[in-house]
Amino acid sequence: MKVKISKKRMTQDELVVFNKPSKVYIPLISGSDTDITILVKKGEYVYKGSIVAKSKGNFRIPIHSSVSGTVVDFVEKTSFSGEKIKCILIENDFKEKIEVKPTVKKEINKYTKDEFIENLKENGIVGLGGAGFPTYVKYDTNKIKTLIVNAVECEPYITADECLAKQKCEEILETIDAILEINKIEEAIIAIKKENIKLKELFDNFIGTYLKIKIKLVPNIYPMGWERTLISEVTGKQYNKLPIEKGIVVNNISTIYAIYEALKYNKPLIEKVVTFSGEKLKKKCNVLVKIGTSVDEVLKSLGVLDGVIISGGPMMGVAVSDAVICSNQNCVLVLDKPNDIPMKCLKCGKCVSVCPAKLSPVLIMNFKCKTDKDKLKLSKLHPERCIECGLCSYICPSKINVRETIKNKKELLKGDK
């Protein structure tokens, strides 16, 4: 069973710019890594684009300031995924002063592979789709045969990539072509949802000279944007752990555009397009915001009614308060408070038929785990393969939050290892 969740369209296509936050809270997080070295002190003046921190892990991704101004404090705020994280509070002086940087090549396809990777690393480009994996790592190999550009955005409400693609269609195609040339990749495939036919037509107008770039329409189902589903739909290939096993790299539209700005202007990742929507929001639109902007500040300017603030889409997002915009954020929603009362499970099996990871959620949920032997049995049902897409909870006629129970079982097994 495939689940069609129709996209709730917003009224306007325009891109609202929100670039005057009074202060920003630069989140000290890279992907899911919060082990970050702070490189600034209280009272220090920073430029827009200055490196203020660096991750300690293997990848050493720099984190940049998105405004010019003074470092005021280090405070805790809520991240994209709903966890409390440390942030650098910078007071905006609204001067948008930029540090003088080495000049860049005007032609973005004139980079060598090494320069390309160095540029992405220095500008802190990470995957903007969700996981926030450093982009340069994906390209640091010679095995790539296919680049898939993910323009799917399968969750309802979210149209940030679509909006960006419509505004910057030519730049995106130019960047894809440059990436193919620099990395000697054979082909690129832009995956667009069938319902989004207008975007395809737009790309078709410009695609003429780019012979290596193709467009593929994919079904309007959720979770089409999940890497595994997308790759299998577009190429018919299955992989074990990472798509690179089959010579495939997936980037979404926002990431491609961030690469464009990095190559063209040496501009680090300091702002992005985020969808602000939901029934309880007066003005529903896509907003270009600086990373670290307080979510509440943006919502105030759009006119918010009473409701739950959700970071992320309606399926995978979490309810948050006091949140800041992170680099891998794509959506903020204000929705009605959910008031479904869970009932008894009737074992209808719908969660089994919808699970894209081929799990049997109802069996995992009802599995009583007491002894170590039970844990071994449970592990054969592979709860760890859950991608937390939320379809099981969505489809459940008894309104049980199935995903949470799977997550708990997942934790139970993790704690054991």
Partner: protein, 460 residues
């Protein structure tokens, strides 16, 4: 916690759709068992509404028993308990699968057992066995006399149909039957499809069950794989056996349209709580149900209810294996192998070891034992067609032999009567081989002689 949007379907809506799909079946039962006998002056006003009353009693008693349970054991939140236990269904289904003439108190006792089996397992969602079928099993065991021609036939059928119900038909026990013995007594195969045959209250109409199936499948209410594989497995096996034994295509259709198969496959086997949740599990459950049902039928009993109860027991095992086979299909291969081998074995066994009587022209339609008397209704091929006769034994002796119908030439048959041949057969029953035939009516008189010889053989 998310997701913050949910599908509009709810458990209550699922149950309402289930009820809606049952409504035409209930109304048809009212028409067949209430209105028709009433129009033929067989029953009064009470009899007219009796089918509806019968079902209503099942529904109400089911609700009341569970309410009593909730009031005693779930004092604090009995309202919540009742709200999400869908307590009318066990009684409703039980009433629908019982013969119309089962006494009301037997129905109520059956419902009590149904509800008991449900709450003992922990209530809605936890019961291992289909509650309605547990009640049904209880009635079969304790009140076995509730299941005979006398209880299955409504007042109108009692006068118009002389045979037993299709699946209690004796010829199925002694062989695989023929069109004349299986279908002819009830008209034609179309009557089976529409449901104008004797049978349980709501099980007879294959057509209405199929309409319900389509509605429930399109609205994603039931696990459609179970009935599809169940019914097609029965069809496949009976088709193979039937065609091997020179039966035409009517034979598999007779099997899928008769008894409780359609209703059982579509409504009872798909009970969400007691069926498998994995798609592969549902396919396997259906196939095994088909195998069991055919097996039960050929050893002489209607086995839909038993098959479903037996498979209920295996649901957790099927689910466990099939959940793993979602990652690796090979894991369910063993189960499929067992299923395929069983199908082949069943086909071979019942095709080669056909238990039918030696004389292919002879068939037993019914056999009723009443004290020291045993009454046979049998057929034998004569000169112009089948001759139907009634033979009554008392204390191992034939005391009566009557011809119920025949297609012999009138002149020849008159000769038999003139010769008083039927009485000659009775008086020479010890030594029939030496009894002379009637000259000029040799074929007919030989047929009558053979009819009695064959019956005596069965009686022994």
């Amino acid at each position: 916690m998310g997701p913050f949007i949910k599908s509009k379907d709810t458990t209550t809506k699922i149950m309402i759709r289930l009820l809606l799909s049952l409504l035409p079946i209930i109304l048809f039962s009212f028409y067949k068992n209430g209105i028709i006998p009433f129009l033929h002056d067989k029953v009064g006003i009470l009899g007219l509404f009796y089918p509806l009353i019968f079902i209503l009693v099942g529904v109400i008693s089911s609700f009341v028993f569970e309410l009593i349970y909730a009031l005693i054991f779930k004092k604090d939140d009995y309202k919540e308990y009742i709200k999400e236990s869908y307590s009318i269904f066990p009684g409703l289904f039980l009433a629908m699968i019982l013969p119309i003439n089962v006494p009301i108190y037997v129905l109520i006792l059956g419902v009590f057992v149904s509800v008991l089996s449900k709450v003992l397992f922990g209530g809605f969602g936890k019961n291992l066995f289909n509650p309605a079928l547990v009640g049904y099993l209880f009635i079969i065991i304790i009140f076995s006399s509730s299941f005979s021609s006398a209880t299955y036939f409504n007042k109108y059928e009692l006068d118009t149909i002389t045979s037993a119900t299709p699946l209690t038909n004796e010829s199925l026990v002694t062989g695989i039957g023929t069109y004349d013995t299986l279908v002819r007594p009830y008209g034609r195969l179309l009557n089976f499809f529409i449901g104008m045959i004797p049978g349980s209250l709501a099980e007879t109409s294959a057509l209405l069950c199929l309409i319900g199936f389509i509605y429930l499948s399109v609205t994603k209410t039931i696990k459609w794989r179970i009935p599809v594989t169940y019914i097609s497995t029965v069809f496949l096996i009976t088709y193979v056996i039937g065609s091997y034994l020179d039966q035409s295509l009517y034979y598999p259709f007779f099997h899928i349209f008769s008894g409780g198969l359609m209703f059982g496959a579509i409504y009872m086997a798909t009970d969400p709580v007691t069926s498998t949740v994995t798609p592969i599990g549902q396919v396997l459950q259906g196939v095994f149900l088909g195998i069991l049902t055919v097996l039960f039928r050929f050893i002489g009993t209607e086995g839909v209810a038993f098959s479903i109860l037996i498979m209920n027991l295996f649901v957790p095992i099927l689910d466990n294996i099939c959940a793993k086979s979602r990652f690796n299909i090979i894991k369910s291969l063993g189960l499929f192998l067992i299923a395929w081998l069983s199908i082949i074995a069943l086909c071979l066994y019942f095709s080669y070891i056909n238990k039918g009587p030696n004389d292919p022209d002879f068939d037993i339609i019914s056999k009723n034992k009443n004290g020291s008397k045993t009454t046979y209704v049998v057929t034998q091929k004569g000169y112009g067609g089948t001759i139907k006769g009634e033979i009554i034994f008392e204390k191992d002796k034939i005391i009566s032999f009557n011809i119920l119908s025949n297609h012999e030439t009138k002149a020849k048959y008159d000769l038999i009567i003139q010769e008083n041949y039927l009485n000659k057969i009775i008086s020479n029953q010890e030594n029939l081989d030496n009894l002379d035939t009637v000259s000029s009516a040799t074929v007919t008189s030989t047929a009558l002689k053979k009819m009695v010889i064959n019956t005596i053989e069965d009686y022994k």
